[in-house]
Symmetry: C2
Subunit: 253 residues, 2 copies
């Protein structure tokens, strides 16, 4: 009997950001595979088996989910945010690629979610209103010089930038190194925002400048946004300023 | 009496991609402002006023919504996809910036949505599994040389690219010009995908190469994805290949 695998994005945290597609799908599957933090967001359902795994073994988790689906189970593998953005979708398809070709008829569906990047942008105003890029600062899976080259290219071409995985225990300094590099190209007063745990009880946002950004705390739950030369603040008397990257470029100069 | 304004992302089209946050908010507002195509997705609700507008006057629409909210109405301005990505959020905050400072205490909320980019990626597999950028090819609001510089930078730094607004009636050739430029930097067999009207009845996906991409039809509902040097296809016997950009970079060489 044929099983199936769905790679499901749960969004940043709250249930109001879980799509009806994800919600309905999670009600119907026989097995849910995921990191414990994500499984903890889901209600226990009779007859549904949960498979918790450690966050550091994404490829093993993907193979485990594929094994279950090959055995005829209907499996959801869950991810925070959008599964396609530095999350489980790539790991699953890497596993698919490594397995026998005859397994490729397995029905696989990717269920998109609200990404951390767009949730953070929503809280801030419109920081991504113009061309932007997303860069993982983790050098576990790519050489640091590749990251440096991308940071430099994005700075020179004046993209707004979103950084995923800004720090880790093993490499606490990489965000500071990224800021050091950006300061050689971009103005000291470039808008920088730190968005932590958006939508969760510990949500925290702060807005600073590239000159001051290095002293801000960040962890693996923090998304860092760096503005373009046109990104600016709209001051408010009784609230955090809005962050705006206007749709037009260059014409206001 | 104080009104409010919510900038609401409806996602790419189907109701299964409308978040509970957006759905609940749209039930409670007194006024909905938006392009006719987006308003048509919403059920008529007694006591709720709709304000249709033409797609080309985003800033006017934003001011209209702000006027209503300043008059004490609870207003939703709706956008397809995510409102922060080449959509209404930037237009609204540009309007906020242009209005008197004392109006800035108006409660404004941005409600994120499933973006066209991530919906397209979900259908294709994991094309955005590594660093990526989003570029609007419209030169209505920025000079074409800026777009060219960004395309070149993104190609040299080997980002996956998502193109919004790939063509228009006024400028039918800009996508072809973008491909011409990319071919001077990127390999002819680079994976290119066209994703049209994802989630809607006319949904259409096609996968090609940079060498062949110029002859593909595209319109303003088409999102174009251009792979990095590592983006590859996973062939399937009975279906379109999966598109994978692996999480690792360089190590496989």
């Amino acid at each position: 009997m044929s099983g199936s695998l769905s790679i499901v994005g749960l969004g940043p945290g709250p249930s109001y950001w879980v799509t009806p597609e994800a919600e309905n799908l999670l009600k119907g599957v026989s097995d849910v595979v995921g990191y414990a933090t994500y499984l903890a967001r889901l209600p226990a359902r009779p007859g549904q088996t949960r498979h918790e795994s450690d966050n550091r073994v994404e490829l093993d988790r993907a193979h485990h989910a594929l094994d279950l689906a090959q055995d005829g189970r209907h499996v959801a593998i869950v991810s925070g945010g959008d599964p396609g953005v530095f999350a489980m979708a790539a790991a699953v398809f890497e596993a698919v690629e490594a397995r026998p070709a005859h397994e490729r008829d397995l029905p696989i569906q990717v269920v998109p979610g609200i990404s951390a990047m767009f949730a953070a942008a929503a809280r801030l105003g419109a920081p991504l209103g113009h061309d932007f890029c997303a860069i993982s600062l983790s050098d576990n899976l790519k050489p640091w010089p590749v990251i440096e080259a991308r940071l430099k290219a994005a700075a020179v071409a004046d993209f707004v930038m979103a950084f995923y995985n800004p720090v880790s225990k093993a490499r606490p300094d990489r965000l500071r190194h990224a800021f050091d590099l950006l300061r050689t190209v971009k103005a000291a007063d470039t808008v920088v925002a730190f968005a932590r745990a958006i939508g969760r009880p510990t949500e925290n946002l702060s807005i600073t400048t590239l000159a001051e950004a290095a002293v801000q705390p960040a962890d693996m739950s923090t998304l860092v946004l760096v503005g373009s030369s046109e990104t600016r603040l709209i001051a408010r008397d009784h609230a955090r300023p809005w962050v705006l990257t206007p749709r037009s470029y260059g014409s206001a100069r």
